[in-house]
């Protein structure tokens, strides 16, 4: 058996150039969007950084697929969204476990000591994040892209790899579940507080 191998130096230089251009071409233009996508959903300093690291790891693993994707940047943002959703789910699980055990985080306690209204707002925000984290992945992603990021259905369908009708169904079902789970927040004064802030 014989295999031909090019000179190691040339191959490395070519590989380096390819990886460099991959970064400049695909990741650099959406750096800001990636950060914001993750932050909007995760909303926690350390967790956001971890999520970004996870997303970059996946992007790097899937780089050949991304390179050949018709809309590579949309795929990158979808990966970020997926990672953020995973973080959110982990948070939701922890939140549920803490609730069951009657625990609150030190941050909650700190806020609670200072301003009760802040605590209420934070709890309301936690509930919203928790509710999103409990949605099925497709519904959560569709809701986040459509409602939060205000993307057109056409773009979401392309990113998710399904039809526009399917996206509409996901959004509708996701929104319905969220409405049910967050009904108490919408009817209370939280909304006004949010608006005031």
């Amino acid at each position: 058996m014989r295999i031909a191998v090019t000179a190691p130096g040339d191959a490395e230089a070519l590989q380096m150039a390819t990886e460099k251009s991959l970064y400049e071409r695909l990741i650099a233009p959406v750096e800001s969007q990636m950060m914001r996508t993750i932050w909007r959903i995760v909303r926690h300093d350390q967790l956001a950084e971890d999520t970004l690291q996870d997303a970059l790891a996946i992007i790097w693993q899937k780089r050949s697929r991304i390179r050949h994707h018709p809309n590579p940047q949309a795929l990158i943002l979808k990966i970020c969204l997926n990672c953020a959703y995973d973080s959110l789910r982990r948070q939701s699980r922890q939140h549920r476990q803490q609730s069951l055990a009657g625990l609150t985080s030190s941050a909650d306690q700190e806020v609670g000591k200072n301003i009760s209204q802040e605590l209420e707002l934070k709890q309301a925000a936690d509930e919203v994040l928790n509710a999103i984290g409990r949605l099925p992945r497709s519904q959560a992603l569709a809701v986040l892209m459509r409602i939060v990021q205000r993307q057109p259905y056409e773009d979401i369908a392309r990113t998710m790899g399904c039809s526009e009708t399917t996206v509409r169904i996901h959004v509708s079902r996701g929104r319905k579940r969220l409405s049910q789970r967050l009904a108490h927040l919408q009817n209370s004064s939280h909304e006004e507080s949010f608006n005031a802030k």
């Binding site: 058996m1 380096m16 990886e19 993750i38 919203v128 939060v148 929104r175 909304e191």
Partner: protein, 299 residues
């Protein structure tokens, strides 16, 4: 009144949308943005530097450096950590090495995970093939039972022709055709026999030590839909390359192929010089006992 219901539902949806937008608003704090930008920079540096050949010195610190460069691909890091564990010889007696190696929590986790898996891989069988002239090949089977118990059979026409048996400090070389036995006090004289090739494979530690001393990691590729990874090494002194396939699930090496530069150095054509296939055997009994103990704890 269906119209009123629809209107209520619409209002409710609008409120939900507004609530979501309020909670998930675009308010990335500058300090978080700065830290995330630093992560991008680090990632970019690693991506661009990652492909450069890395110098592996005798220090374990260099392996850690190598892992740091590969931080972006955690699954591969796990696979390499198994190699590191092999290299360190740590997977036999992990406790001492683990604390020395695991400076970060993630590395500790991967080390523990590898150690847990390798714990049950208490024996290894390695089948080796060496291409010979006229399209034929020589083969051998190496069975590693414990750190100081190993058996190597040279196979000719499907039958063992010679056997090297290592049992503690007793090293015996048997010739099956002449029925001769030779006893040795150390492995040094074995280097002059047909078993010289096997010295690197007598145990995972020996293999790791050899890998560690002779081979420089070059790059890796994912294979079989991410279930396996191929790691490539280079030995400039011997003008040879090595391909190691690692199962990313068990994190253990599966195959090892060595390619040497052919007779005409000018062409840069590498020929397969050796192929080794590893079979890692688990002790089911030990695993069952551990599983039962764990179940008991959970209950």
């Amino acid at each position: 009144m269906p119209n009123e219901n629809n209107l209520d539902e619409h209002n409710h949806d609008t409120k939900t949308d507004e609530l979501l937008r309020q909670v998930l608003k675009d308010d990335l704090p500058p300090q978080v943005e700065a830290r995330m930008k630093a992560q991008f920079m680090l990632f970019r540096e690693n991506v661009e530097r990652d492909q450069q050949p890395l110098k592996i010195s005798a220090a374990m610190a260099d392996w850690r450096r190598f892992f740091n460069l590969k931080w972006a691909v955690r699954r591969e890091v796990l696979a390499f950590s198994s190699l590191a564990m092999i290299v360190a010889g740590a997977f036999l007696h992990v406790s001492g090495h683990r604390s020395a190696m695991a400076e970060t929590l993630s590395f500790l986790n991967s080390s523990l995970s590898v150690a847990a898996k390798v714990r049950y891989a208490s024996s290894m069988e390695c089948r080796m093939r060496f291409p010979a002239e006229n399209g034929k090949h020589r083969s051998s089977i190496i069975r590693w039972v414990s750190p100081d118990v190993a058996r190597v059979d040279l196979i000719e026409h499907g039958k063992p022709s010679q056997t090297l048996l290592i049992y503690g400090e007793d090293i015996t070389l048997a010739d099956h055709f002449s029925n001769d036995f030779l006893k040795y006090q150390s492995l040094e004289p074995i280097k002059e026999t047909d078993f010289a090739f096997a010295l690197e494979f007598l145990s995972p530690i020996a293999l790791a030590t050899s890998m560690y001393e002779k081979w420089k990691p070059q790059h890796f590729e994912l294979k079989a839909h991410g279930q396996k990874a191929a790691f490539f090494f280079l030995n400039n002194g011997e003008k040879a390359s090595l391909e190691m396939i690692v199962d990313l699930d068990t994190q253990l090496p599966l195959t090892l192929k060595k390619y040497s530069l052919g007779p005409s150095d000018v062409e840069d054509v590498y020929e397969l010089a050796m192929e080794a296939q590893f079979l890692w055997n688990e002790i089911d009994l030990l695993k069952k006992i551990d599983d039962q103990t764990q179940q008991g704890r959970d209950e």
